[in-house]
């Protein structure tokens, strides 16, 4: 008897409970959803929308289809900043990853003064990029900057590091590697500590050399971390432009300009917001491609702990 009553009431109660759960969950999520929608999802869609309109300076803007995109493809500066950005990513990402790995291995070992090493490598990470740019700007100042003074004391002649299109990119890349390597070191350090010590002992018993062990055991185990860092470093290379504001303003002749900096210039200095939207769409597309590669392709192939 009791059982039948229960079974009749059960679906109803369960539905009610499910409904309550839904309401509860959505209430909990409400602030986050509203804010994310306002400051992430809506702006992404609005960017796309505005990229199809004319600027209408002082007048009404109207739908122009792909005109802004055609203008973009014909824009030498756009092509240059895109190229710069790719070069910049190729220069900074692998270098900082390699250095980060080296640093992590050192700090992970029982090396003399390892806490000092860790401190030294990690410190640049907590400094503001603006402050860092100020300091490095003076390093690179021609003639009386630190770098030129050092070179001159060795008998070399000075060089206008940031004023020469052939050196400015490398100078900025060195600085960014300096700032970021310590950050990525931390991820490697965390990963290294998860490698069971027994593995190492076993390898030692087998008589494997350190290099062999590193290459055949450590490196493969670090693969997921390496990919994770690569993605992050890649994204960073597209969104970090603070240094340009201080050091070069993208010059000389756009030699050091990056995509986001160009967007900033077009949107706020030239007040051409629709073209800036068009450029932003490109940037979003690049970031989305990176993200999709990660989610769809890599996550499936790489085994995460």
């Amino acid at each position: 008897m009791v059982a039948t009553v229960m079974s009749a009431a059960e679906p109803k109660a369960a539905r009610r409970k499910a409904w309550l759960t839904n309401v509860n969950a959505w209430l909990l999520l409400l602030p986050a959803v509203v804010l994310l929608a306002t400051f992430t999802h809506y702006p992404i869609l609005a960017t796309l929308y505005h990229s199809f309109f004319s600027l209408g300076r002082g007048g009404a803007s109207h739908f122009v289809g792909l005109e802004n995109y055609i203008y973009m493809l014909d824009d030498d500066v756009f092509r240059q900043v895109l190229r710069n950005n790719i070069v910049f990513a190729l220069a900074t990402v692998p270098t900082s990853i390699a250095l980060a790995l080296l640093m992590a291995v050192w700090v992970d070992k029982k090396m003399a003064g390892r806490s000092f090493l860790r401190l030294a490598f990690f410190t640049p990470t907590v400094l503001p990029m603006i402050a860092v740019a100020n300091i490095w700007l003076f390093f690179y100042t021609p003639d009386y900057g630190l770098l030129d003074q050092f070179l001159k004391s060795l008998g070399f002649s000075g060089h206008n590091w940031l004023g020469d299109p052939s050196t400015v990119m490398s100078c900025l890349a060195v600085m960014v590697v300096w700032k970021e390597a310590g950050f990525f070191m931390i991820f490697y350090l965390a990963a290294l500590q998860t490698i069971p010590p027994e593995l190492k002992e076993a390898a030692a018993v087998e008589g494997a050399s350190r290099w062999y062990f590193f290459r055949r055991v450590t490196l493969p185990l670090l693969m997921p971390t390496t990919l994770f860092i690569s993605i992050n470093a890649l994204i960073n290379s597209f969104k970090l432009v603070d240094q340009l504001v201080i050091m070069t303003k993208g010059g000389p002749n756009n030699a050091s300009s990056l995509l986001l900096y160009y967007i900033y210039e077009v949107a706020f200095t030239f007040q051409d917001t629709t073209y800036a939207a068009t450029l932003t769409v490109t940037l979003i597309a690049i970031l989305a491609a990176v993200a999709l590669t990660k989610f769809v392709y890599l996550d499936r192939r790489i085994h995460y702990q």
């Binding site: 003639d143 008998g155 020469d164 010059g251 200095t269």
Partner: protein, 427 residues
């Protein structure tokens, strides 16, 4: 419906606010201004604003330093688009067309009232050139300049040159520069002959060279430029050759910001720079230095430069009146003289040079009037629609040429093509 209530509310609020404002007799003004030269310029401005407020207790001015000219224009435009424009600003005198296109500003003579005409006629005409369009005066000169040649007299003496005879022609400048270059034992240059800055304001320097070569860079309407005219190319070629061929200037881009320090440290014997830097150079120089007009090719010449006051359209009529009161105060002869003495900018009215303070100053420091005297040769600075964009295109071209990425012809051809594309909308 909802919208209507909101408008009504806002209107009501505004009435209340304006009422209370007129009761309290305090008008609030926000002003953005740029700094492009050395020295404690922000302090000078703050100090002047303080004194103005003491004399005019019913007006409150908040002066906001916003970076260099480009930064300040960026800030003002961005704030305006966001619905919070300043009531007045000091911006490039040449941003006029851009500001008009954005419908951002109002003509000053419409607010200045009855004696406005006389007041506006008291300025040097050369400085008014950029502010008058369509028969109206849209801006008032404030921190105005021309480019001058600073030279190290001690270095001249050391090189066996007459320190009272700075170069007067392009050819002379090369010749003298060659004598001024100093090298150490291993052949490294320790002192350059001359430096012309190519970052930030490279377009301005190229303009000076072009004017001297007899070429104006833009038309009156601000919708046509002649960047790849043969004489402009020749001007840029001369500039490039100073480094590449004559070896009297460092290769690569020369920083506007650090050039003054280079000069003061004796890294270069001569520099082209704004007269706005004069006081900072005077304070910092440990050697005798002279100031001269720029050398001539076909003629003497320099573009005018620097910033004017603009009053924004969105300001209330009271604010606009108050802004003009402030501008009048800031440009009155005594203040113009003070400002010129403290920075080096050209005082904007002839009357300022008749003040006691200025007379005394000039007597001991005759360098202070070189830039003013150069006004007779000066030409209005390049001013076109979408000024910021065109300046950038020009700067890029200058930098491409001085760094050797492109020849002057290529760089300027490309600049011309890009500019025409931008300006085609304004024909």
């Amino acid at each position: 419906m909802k919208f209507k209530t909101k408008t009504l509310l806002t209107a009501g609020l505004m009435t209340v606010m304006s009422l209370s404002a007129s009761v309290a007799h305090a008008v609030d003004l926000t002003m953005y201004y740029p700094v492009a030269v050395g020295g404690p310029v922000t302090k000078v401005i703050d100090d002047m604003v303080q004194r103005f407020q003491k004399e005019n207790p019913d007006i409150k001015v908040e002066a906001v330093y916003a970076g260099n000219y480009t930064d300040t224009m960026t800030k003002a435009m961005t704030a305006m688009k966001g619905g919070q424009p300043p009531q007045l600003s000091v911006l490039f005198s040449t941003d006029l067309f851009t500001l008009m296109d954005e419908q951002a500003i109002v003509p000053i003579d419409e607010i200045a009232g009855a004696d406005g005409k006389e007041w506006l006629n008291s300025f040097y005409p050369a400085f008014m050139e950029n502010g008058r369009v369509e028969g109206k005066t849209w801006s008032v000169p404030f921190q105005r300049s021309t480019i001058v040649l600073y030279y190290n007299k001690d270095a001249f003496k050391e090189a066996g040159l007459d320190p009272e005879k700075p170069p007067t022609t392009w050819a002379e400048m090369v010749e003298i520069s060659k004598k001024l270059v100093k090298k150490d034992a291993s052949g490294n240059v320790t002192r350059w002959g001359v430096e012309i800055p190519s970052t930030g304001y490279g377009y301005w320097m190229l303009q000076a060279l072009a004017i001297e070569n007899g070429q104006k860079l833009m038309n009156e309407a601000g919708n046509k430029v002649s960047f790849n005219a043969p004489k402009t190319v020749e001007a840029l070629q001369y500039w490039v050759d100073l480094a590449a061929k004559e070896g009297v200037m460092p290769k690569g881009a020369v920083e506007w910001g650090t050039l003054r320090a280079d000069f003061l440290e004796g890294k270069t014997a001569m520099m082209w720079h704004t007269t706005g830097n004069l006081t900072a150079v005077k304070e910092g120089a440990k050697f005798n230095f002279g100031v001269a007009m720029l050398p001539a090719k076909e003629r003497r010449g320099s573009p005018t430069g620097g910033g004017n006051f603009y009053v924004f359209k969105s300001a209330s009529p009271e604010q606009q009146k108050a802004a003009v009161t402030f501008i009048k105060w800031m440009t009155a002869p005594e203040r113009a003289a003070e400002w010129s003495i403290k920075t080096g900018y050209v005082a904007v009215t002839p009357a300022a040079y008749e003040t006691e303070a200025m007379k005394t100053y000039v007597k001991d420091f005759p360098q202070a009037v070189v830039a003013r005297d150069q006004l007779q040769h000066a030409v209005a600075e390049l001013s076109v629609h979408e000024n910021g964009r065109i300046y950038k295109i020009m700067n890029d071209a200058v930098q491409a040429a001085v760094t050797g990425t492109q020849t002057p012809q290529e760089a300027l051809d490309s600049a011309q093509k890009q500019s025409e594309r931008v300006l085609s909308r304004y024909k």
